[in-house]
């Protein structure tokens, strides 16, 4: 489903964020990318999402090389992918409802469906009482939950999550990780970048990163 072939990403001609990485993530995989800060986890996820172009090597998603795709084709791939950004990337001026609903609106879902789905998802993560508050007024944990809802609400084929529970308390973090596990059991490919260990890793493929390269792989 996601194939990286000798991918290298260099910033400013000298900084190697990712170095010669080759990966093959199958459909339905649950994959953890772990490593210390600055190991290149976020860059690797961005490369998979088409937000960064590799300096060398190729990235293929759904069997299509991203380098050869037009902007609209990459956008089409993104519509079937959920991404939880480390900094959430919420639209600060918009309400919680609008932030959660935007991807469904982009997909052209009917308004009635959008309303019902958004309410259900927000209730599920405990944000039903904040529906009409602006995203900028939310706490860190609430923002993270909203970012998770936005990534999952359209049942994407792939979820890429960058430190998805970093701002959540222990019980909510546990809850969200279990949600990831449930989604994975339904067939969703999930790739989580994290700098800390998690019990969920027992069920996952682990990719250990260090200084931009893969230091080890295992299950």
């Amino acid at each position: 489903m996601i194939i990286l072939d000798n991918v290298t990403k260099i910033y400013h001609d000298t900084v190697y964020a990712v170095r010669d990485i080759s990966l093959n993530i199958e459909k339905g995989d649950l994959c953890f990318i772990v490593g210390p800060s600055g190991a290149g986890k976020t860059t690797l996820l961005k490369l998979m999402f088409g937000m960064e172009t590799p300096s060398r090597g190729t990235v293929a998603i759904f069997g299509r090389n991203l380098a050869g795709l037009s902007a609209s084709s990459i956008q089409a791939i993104r519509r079937h992918t959920g991404f939880v950004f480390q900094d959430f990337r919420l639209i600060e001026d918009w309400t919680v409802f609008s932030n959660a609903a935007i991807i469904l609106e982009i997909l052209g879902k009917p308004a009635v469906y959008v309303r019902g789905r958004v309410w259900r998802m927000l209730k599920w993560v405990g944000l039903q009482h904040k529906v009409y508050e602006r995203a900028r007024d939310l706490s860190g944990g609430e923002r993270q939950r909203l970012a998770l809802v936005r990534a999952m609400i359209h049942d994407p084929d792939i979820i890429l999550a960058d430190e998805p529970v970093g701002n959540l308390d222990e019980s909510m973090a546990r809850y969200m990780m279990n949600v990831f596990l449930k989604l994975n059991k339904k067939g969703t490919t999930i790739i989580i970048a994290s700098h800390r260990s998690d019990p969920l890793m027992d069920y996952a493929k682990i990719i250990q990163m260090e200084r931009g390269g893969i230091a080890g792989e295992g299950a």
Binding site: M51, S72, Q75, A76, I77, R78, R79, H80, T81, F83, R89, L90, I91, E92, D93, W94, I102, I103, E105, I106, G108, P110, A111, R150
Partner: protein
Amino acid sequence: MIRFYYILKLIMRGVRLRPWGGLLTLVSCWFALCQLSVVLYTVNVADRISTMPATSGSIVAYLKDSTPQARITQMEKVLCAMGAVSKVQYIPRQSGLDKMKQWLGAQSPLVEGVDPRILPDAFEITLKREYADKVAVIALSVGKIAGVDDVRYRKGLIGSIAGSFSRIVFGASVLGAIVVICLALVIFLSIRVGIISRKQEIEVMGMLGANYLFIYAPYLIEAGTYGFLGSIAALATTGIGITYLQIHFTSMQAFLRPMDTYQAATVVFFACFCSILGALLAIKRSIDA
């Protein structure tokens, strides 16, 4: 499939974000398009004047009394054969009086109670537009035709306007082009500001996979709306102005007429076209950046 409802929602968000900016843009559009309408009215006026009797676009040749009908027919043929002449119309004295009543108003002291027998028969000779500058020479040659008593053309300001028809059209075209460019620039700047103020929103939508149409359609519709509403308001304003002039200055009724439907449609079309063009430039700038 993108639903129009969501695009409308995005437009409303934009309006809520910059209500005064939108209003100012609309006022600017209205003002620019008022100028465009005035330019079109000017061309209309010049066009009508150039075809009015006794202006430099046309010549009136008054015939001597008791000119026989056979001679009149012969004179008409001679006039029609002249290269500079586009139309020749024989006006018997009664028709001449009727025309004067039409131009001046039936109650005008100049025509009220006038006996048509004191008026001469005449030929109204309309010149081809390109010969408007040579009216004096043409009038001279018309005056030399046997049976012609007097030749009249050019009457003060009206005559000057008619004589300058081609220059007026050229000037109006230049002014029109400037107005159109200004309009596109106003819309470009307004939409650019709108895009910059909603940069984060656009970035996030792009990252979530929204295509360009979904992201930028609201801006195109917003720009088109400015152009449409601005042009309708401008046409209404200038229309009211022209009606006021017609009511209060009866002597201007002859050449001051409401804009033709196709001209009004052209104003609306150009306004929408230029607005959307300005918006497209702003969007392209944003995508390139």
